[in-house]
């Protein structure tokens, strides 16, 4: 009898322990994700009644010029931004990690300095670097006045060709240490025995790098690419912070995240094309675009246990 009551109490307590976490996650995270499916099938400005429209939102996204042009523009620019970010992070990150892996003087100090931007808020990085690249900011002052290399200041964020690459460089500045840490730990993980064997074979340092070190970098590269990809395709903070929801100049910095934001809340006060159904459809399409990368990441993490 006493045993029964222990089990009952234990069971009740188990439920009590599980409830807060499940409710919190369920209501504010899982439910919205599931609701994307239903909401993407309606036309609804956020208040009043919703009209069921079936797959109309997806059709508009693919065919109606107003939505299609914005979507294609945002997608292409998002891909371009991703390529710039991942290219610079992998190239520079590998170079720096490789140099740090040698018996370099002051390795610890360099690593600490390189890691400094990582914990900073995206808002702090955006505004700080914006002040650097402003026409009257430090970079332009240095190259125009101090060195005299440039005739006139360059308006990095005011130029339709330069704005998006500038934002990509802001991102790379912020997250470079992430690439460095992952690549460095891969390099350090190469067994010294392997390197010794290669050296006994009389391999040059370059051949050794090619045969032993580069192959172990592949998994680190894939991991960095996937994580950055998931982030860059849903997070539009830099554009929102510096360019606003209209993603100026002339939508040249528009990415999927800002397009989604505009569709939910409008770009400016006068916006009329606010549609939560369409916003859900855009969210769903974006989720499907990054799903392969995200799934890969999840499986890799689960296998690690």
């Amino acid at each position: 009898m006493a045993k029964m009551s222990y089990n009952r109490k234990a069971n009740l307590q188990r439920i009590a322990l599980l409830t807060p976490g499940v409710l919190l996650f369920g209501i504010f995270n899982f439910l919205p994700l599931v609701a994307l499916l239903g909401l993407s099938l309606v036309d609804w400005p956020g208040v009043g009644s919703a009209d069921f429209v079936g797959l109309e939102n997806f059709r508009k996204l693919a065919l109606e010029p107003y939505y299609r042009d914005q979507f294609v523009n945002a997608l292409v620019q998002n891909i371009w931004m991703f390529v710039l970010i991942i290219g610079s992070m992998l190239l520079l990150g590998s170079l720096l990690a490789l140099l740090l892996s040698f018996g370099t003087n002051g390795r610890g100090a360099y690593r600490a300095i390189y890691f400094l931007p990582y914990p900073l808020a995206g808002a702090a990085v955006a505004f700080l670097l914006d002040l650097m690249v402003q026409p009257r900011g430090a970079i332009n002052t240095f190259f125009v006045k101090t060195l005299g290399w440039w005739d006139a200041p360059i308006g990095f964020l005011g130029d339709t060709d330069l704005a998006l690459p500038t934002l990509a460089m802001f991102y790379a500045w912020h997250r470079m240490s992430f690439a460095i840490v992952l690549i460095l730990s891969a390099i350090v993980g190469v067994r010294v025995i392997l390197l010794e064997a290669a050296m006994l074979d009389g391999a040059s340092r370059w051949r050794m790098l090619k045969a032993v070190v580069f192959p172990v970098l592949a998994p680190a590269f894939v991991l960095i690419t996937v994580i950055v990809m998931v982030d860059v395709f849903n997070n539009a903070d830099y554009t929102l912070l510096l360019m606003g929801p209209e993603a100026g100049p002339l939508r040249s910095t528009d990415v999927l995240g800002t397009f989604l934001f505009r569709t939910s809340f409008g770009g400016s006060a006068t916006s009329v094309n606010v549609n939560f159904g369409m916003a859900a459809a855009i969210g769903l399409v974006t989720a499907i675009l990054i799903l392969p990368a995200a799934l890969f990441l999840a499986l890799k993490n689960l296998r690690k246990d």
């Binding site: 109490k9 234990a10 188990r14 322990l17 599980l18 976490g21 919190l24 996650f25 209501i27 504010f28 995270n29 439910l31 919205p32 994700l33 609701a35 994307l36 909401l39 720096l96 140099l99 040698f102 018996g103 370099t104 003087n105 002051g106 300095i113 390189y114 990582y118 914990p119 808020a121 995206g122 808002a123 702090a124 505004f127 700080l128 002040l131 650097m132 430090a138 101090t146 500045w173 470079m176 010294v192 050296m199 050794m208 991991l223 994580i227 982030d231 849903n234 997070n235 903070d237 929102l240 989604l260 939910s264 939560f276 916003a279 989720a287 799903l291 799934l295 999840a298 689960l302 246990d305």
Partner: protein, 280 residues
């Protein structure tokens, strides 16, 4: 350090050159912010952004803190971040404890639901999330923001804690159970002390994430007296974009807590980065 890794003098010189170059790229923006934030007036910031101040003064910090209300924003950021840390640590550790040590029919399914949260970023579900928060009457309240930010951290936190709990033996808990201890006691007396290292990582990750979050407050807050620093500084910039001296001071006020947190716990940070790097 093995001799394959040692460098000749010439090589060392070339390597140092490149490493210093990147260190400059990292440090110069921060250095420029620091020197300009101590300048006595705006004119000096515009005239010579790269020069040291003619006179070092704290007045910009004082003006930003009081005049631009960064003090108020700072307090809101602190309330939100600390609440998120407490809620996430509590909810994620109880959830992980039940899922790992007291599994039931459906617990694997429940874990899979949490993993969906790891895979699909909550930002994409902006519209339904907004509808739910509005329906609960939590729009434009710190409570609503805290719950949303906590929930967004839950998947990663549950993932880190379940992985850790699986890796430690359950002997102590079994012994406590033999002595008739109930789950509450086991959780509080045995499990919580046991998972402390992983909990520290979770706390640090959620603190930094919550402090740095810009997007969720942007969606869920409207009244400026509730703004955290990220929104407050954006608001300030929209109104007084020419006040660079105050912008620099404000940026440094905003980044100080996370940099300090990083300096105090750089090891957990890097661990968190490699384990919890699942989600930004």
């Amino acid at each position: 350090m093995h001799k394959i890794f040692s460098l000749s003098r010439k090589e060392q010189l070339a390597v140092q050159f490149i490493l210093i170059a990147w260190a400059c790229v990292v440090l110069i923006p921060l250095g420029v912010a620091v020197i300009n934030s101590f300048k006595p007036n705006l004119g000096e910031v515009y005239r010579a952004p790269l020069a040291l101040p003619s006179e070092w003064t704290w007045s910009n910090y004082a003006e930003a803190w009081v005049g631009a209300n960064f003090g108020g924003y700072f307090l809101n950021s602190a309330i939100v971040s600390l609440s998120v840390v407490v809620i996430v640590c509590f909810c994620a550790s109880t959830t992980a404890f039940v899922l790992v040590r007291m599994p039931f029919r459906g617990s694997a399914l429940l874990f899979a639901c949490f993993m969906i949260g790891v895979i699909i970023p909550i930002r994409l579900a902006l519209a339904p999330l907004f509808t739910i928060v509005k329906g609960l009457g939590l729009l434009d309240t710190l409570t609503g923001l805290i719950l949303v930010q906590s929930a967004s951290m839950m998947p990663v936190a549950v993932f880190i804690l379940t992985a850790f709990l699986k890796s430690v033996p359950s002997e102590l808990e079994d012994a406590a159970r033999m002595d008739g201890a109930l789950p509450f006691q086991i959780y509080w007396r045995v499990v919580l002390p046991l998972i402390r290292p992983a909990l520290a990582t979770v706390a640090l990750l959620s603190f930094v994430q919550a402090w740095n979050e810009y997007f969720l407050p942007l969606i869920f807050l409207q009244s400026s007296e509730l703004y955290p620093l990220t929104l407050g500084i954006a608001e300030f910039r929209a109104q007084f974009s020419v006040q660079w001296h105050l912008m620099f001071a404000g940026i440094l006020i905003m980044l100080a807590p996370t940099v300090i947190a990083f300096l105090l716990a750089s090891r957990q940070f890097i661990e968190g980065l490699t384990q919890g790097g699942v989600k930004e």
